[in-house]
């Protein structure tokens, strides 16, 4: 069986950034395994701009951002395999992958970086009511068909879910001549970035129906119409509020889920983000297996993905070189009041000078504090005039605040008292 130092599962933004970081920290024997036909992952079909403002200080499109990282990987002669699907991973870090030239191959690695990205939630996942005609598809699927193959998947389109890809597809399909009739969002607020609400919907006069969902899909062979209804606070459809839209396409932009099956199969604990629980080095409970990017928690910005993957790559390099990865991870981090999830799940009370937390709030809120409590004692609070679920929050605390104490750190949202 071939042995390598570092195997990276996924050749998208996270995998490429992790590979480059590991290389630059002294690791030469690296293999990237990519399921698709190209390096760059989902960036290749995200032809819109807005990528790279933090990483490269300029505004790039997805393919341009990917090309920069592909060049970094190629300049370093890092080995990669395309069309190669990893089907199994063991606790001893033996990978099984397959492609059409090599067949089924086993590979043993000293360290693994899991960077397999995320998957779109499907019609089945939300038990979409009604028929199952052609013309119902995920936003990413419509994006792939249009941007890489050149097929406009419909002429009269309705969109369920206000996730960013859905909003971006509303604009893309409008530009290509389709009529986008509207976007329905189950929540009382938008789940896309503000800028996408403005430049994808407002610019083209596409209505957004907040607190609405599709209550019936109608069509025999091709989609004929969708019926949407308003929902109450418990997200139950309100009878009598139905609206009908004659359309041939329903695009679902209803959320992304970490594509983390390989690590889940190893029994690694799953966090509330539905990725594996990791410590501040992005190492899972199995030493030498790291996880970063959308497979760990779904990000809004690729700039944050590559930043995170770099940290994972650096720590994978340290692990391979036998350098100790800080000290014991003696503080458990949990999501408290109104916080959806927090990454990482474990940190060390000593070691590096600061700890960085990434989290999302459950609801849009104004005039709130993000409060950090260690063993029930408040150690820090951060005022936020506005905080929304669609924007991941990244905050750092100096470790001196922990005073070397171990235990449980809870991150919560507390409303500022009205004066």
């Amino acid at each position: 069986m071939r042995e390598v130092e570092l195997a990276i599962i996924g050749g998208g933004s996270a995998g490429l950034a992790a590979a480059v970081a590991a290389y630059d920290n002294g690791i030469r024997d690296i293999v990237i395994l990519e399921r698709g036909a190209f390096l760059g992952g989902i960036l290749n079909q995200c032809i819109h701009n807005g990528f790279g403002l933090t990483e490269f200080k300029e505004e790039l499109t997805g393919p341009e951002f990917a090309a920069r990282f592909i060049k970094q990987v190629e300049d370093r002669n890092i080995e990669y395999y395309l069309n190669s699907v990893v089907s199994n991973l063991t606790e001893d870090k033996v990978l099984t992958y397959q492609n059409s030239t090599e067949g089924v191959v086993q590979l043993k690695a000293k360290a693994i970086v899991m960077a397999a990205g995320c998957l779109e939630r499907s019609a089945g996942a939300i038990a979409l009511p009604g028929d199952r005609p052609a013309g119902v598809m995920s936003a990413g699927q419509a994006q792939l068909f249009l941007n890489q193959f050149g097929y406009l998947v419909g002429k009269r389109v309705f969109i369920l879910g206000s996730g960013d890809i859905g909003l971006i597809m509303a604009r893309r399909m409008t530009l290509e001549g389709a009529k986008v009739l509207g976007v329905a969002e189950l929540c009382a607020w938008s789940n896309g970035l503000n800028r996408n609400m403005v430049q994808c919907l407002d610019d083209y006069g596409i209505p957004l129906y907040l607190s609405h969902t599709v209550t019936k899909v109608v069509g025999k062979s091709r989609l004929e119409k969708v019926i949407i209804s308003e929902v109450d606070e418990c997200k139950r459809p309100i009878p009598g509020t139905e609206k009908e839209f004659d359309c041939d396409t329903l695009i679902l932009s209803i959320g992304l889920i970490p594509n983390n099956g390989l690590l889940n199969n190893l029994g690694i604990a799953q966090g509330r983000s539905r990725g594996s629980e990791v410590d501040e080095n992005f190492e899972t409970s199995i030493p030498g297996i790291f996880s970063a990017g959308n497979v760990l928690h779904v990000h809004d910005l690729v700039d944050n993905v590559v930043e995170e993957a770099r940290v994972a790559g650096i720590n994978a390099a340290k692990y391979i070189k036998g350098e100790k990865l800080d000290s014991e991870k003696d503080i458990k981090v949990t999501a408290g009041n109104m916080i959806g999830y927090v990454v990482p799940a474990k940190i060390s009370s000593i070691g590096e000078d600061k700890a960085t937390f990434k989290f999302r709030v459950r609801e849009p809120s104004k005039n709130v504090y993000i409060v950090y409590t260690l063993n029930g004692k408040e150690i820090k609070k951060v005022f936020k005039p506005v905080i929304i679920p669609s924007e991941m929050e990244i905050q750092s605390l100096p470790k001196s605040l922990f005073n070397g104490e171990s235990g449980e750190l809870v991150v919560s949202l507390i409303k500022k008292e009205e004066k």
Binding site: L53, N147, G150, L175, E176, L193, E391
Partner: protein, 116 residues
């Protein structure tokens, strides 16, 4: 006075532009430029695709090298949809010069597409 959401970057600052074109609420200087521009002459970068022959994909992604007038968006799409190119194409290659007659704004390729 006008309230806007800045679209320069994904941060999405909430801007206020008063009648004298003073911008507040912006986190960075680019927000001030955007706020002024948006109330006087709104512009957008357009990204799309053009048909490519001789490469392993049917479509090559493209963008305008600078923002174009908002009113020119659909005119630009008409020009974009008429174009056919041949591989190889590299990032930055000019596909249409001075798109919609906007001087200095070109349609450029955003992906390297080798000939096969």
């Amino acid at each position: 006075m006008k309230e806007l959401i800045c679209i320069v970057c994904p941060r999405g600052c909430r801007l206020t532009v008063d009648d004298d074109l003073n911008v507040t609420g912006n986190f960075c200087p680019r927000g001030a430029v955007y706020g002024k521009q948006e109330v006087t002459n709104p512009t957008r970068v357009i990204t799309s695709i053009v048909r490519i022959e001789g490469s392993d994909l049917a479509m090559c992604p493209v963008k305008t090298s600078a923002p174009i007038k908002k009113g020119n968006i659909f005119k630009a799409m008409e020009e974009i949809n008429k174009v056919k190119i041949n591989a190889p194409i590299h990032i930055g290659d000019v596909i249409i010069k001075d798109i919609c007659g906007e001087e200095g704004v070109d349609l450029v390729a955003t992906r390297n597409m080798e000939a096969i």
